[in-house]
């Protein structure tokens, strides 16, 4: 257990100079990219595999039309397509799907297919936000798990 904490602190120490902003940008663009940038390979790959699979399954269930981008970048346009806000947290996956489907007439899914497809892609975006926050916290050297929070409290 102490070895694991030591490794965690070693990662923080080794990558302490890496700005949290860069790590955050990498984590947003590529799910798990922030952790990979910090040298946490298995954590990054696990997060990447889970989020990418979830997003692809969402597209498979509901079709690519579940990524329904607003017509313009404005508050009123975003209010018409609120799911896109959380789907956009998926980073490059959402951007690529938006660009690839832009201007094409696609079959629109309905009922359960649309609901579950949208839910999958939106949850993938929100999980990427969770991973992004964690990667930024690790880059800034903040304690990230209950055990490390306790240890930091004892040291203080």
């Amino acid at each position: 257990m102490s070895d694991e904490r030591g490794q965690n602190q070693m990662h923080h120490g080794a990558h302490g100079a890496l700005p949290a902003l860069i790590v955050g940008a990498a984590a947003w663009l590529v799910p798990g990219g922030g952790h990979l940038l910090l040298g946490q390979r298995s954590r990054g790959l696990t997060i990447m595999a889970s989020i990418v699979c979830l997003f692809i399954l969402g597209l498979l269930i509901g079709g690519v039309s579940v990524i329904d981008s607003p017509a313009a970048v404005s508050w009123s346009a975003l209010q018409q397509k609120p799911w896109y806000v959380v789907q956009a947290l998926g980073g490059l996956m959402t951007i690529f799907t938006t660009v690839a489907t832009n201007g094409h007439t696609l079959p629109v899914s309905h009922a359960r297919s649309w609901e579950i497809g949208t839910l999958y892609t939106a949850v993938a975006g929100m999980l990427n936000l969770l991973a992004l926050i964690d990667a930024c916290a690790r880059a800034a050297g903040e304690p990230t798990s209950p055990a490390s929070v306790d240890q930091a409290g004892k040291q203080a």
Binding site: R43, I47, S50, I61, V64, L106, P107, A111, S113, T144
Partner: protein, 92 residues
């Protein structure tokens, strides 16, 4: 036409057309999940459990056990909610 009759006619139309639905363009057409749609919630719960525990655990070695535990808790909670809500809708 009122909202309820309209929804009923649309659902009837979907049900009538379901057997004739041909699915041959993956990622373009939605997959025909008319029945057992709720089983698709299991991969979603699994992904949430894995990512959440990957973020929370100090060591990645703990993740499989912890993620399995939280996955069972999520699915159990969903089943409990479903039973309670169906009971409420049955009695009231």
């Amino acid at each position: 036409m009122g909202t309820l009759p309209y929804l009923l006619s649309v659902s009837r139309l979907l049900a009538e057309n379901a057997p004739g639905y041909t699915y041959n363009r993956p990622f373009v057409q939605p997959i025909p999940l008319w029945d057992h749609w709720y089983l698709w919630l299991l991969p979603l719960c699994a992904a949430v459990a894995i990512v959440y525990k990957s973020v929370r655990c100090d060591s990645m070695r703990k993740v499989p056990r912890e993620a399995t535990s939280i996955f069972v808790m999520i699915v159990g909670g969903l089943i409990l909610c479903a039973v309670l809500l169906s009971g409420l809708s049955y009695w009231f």
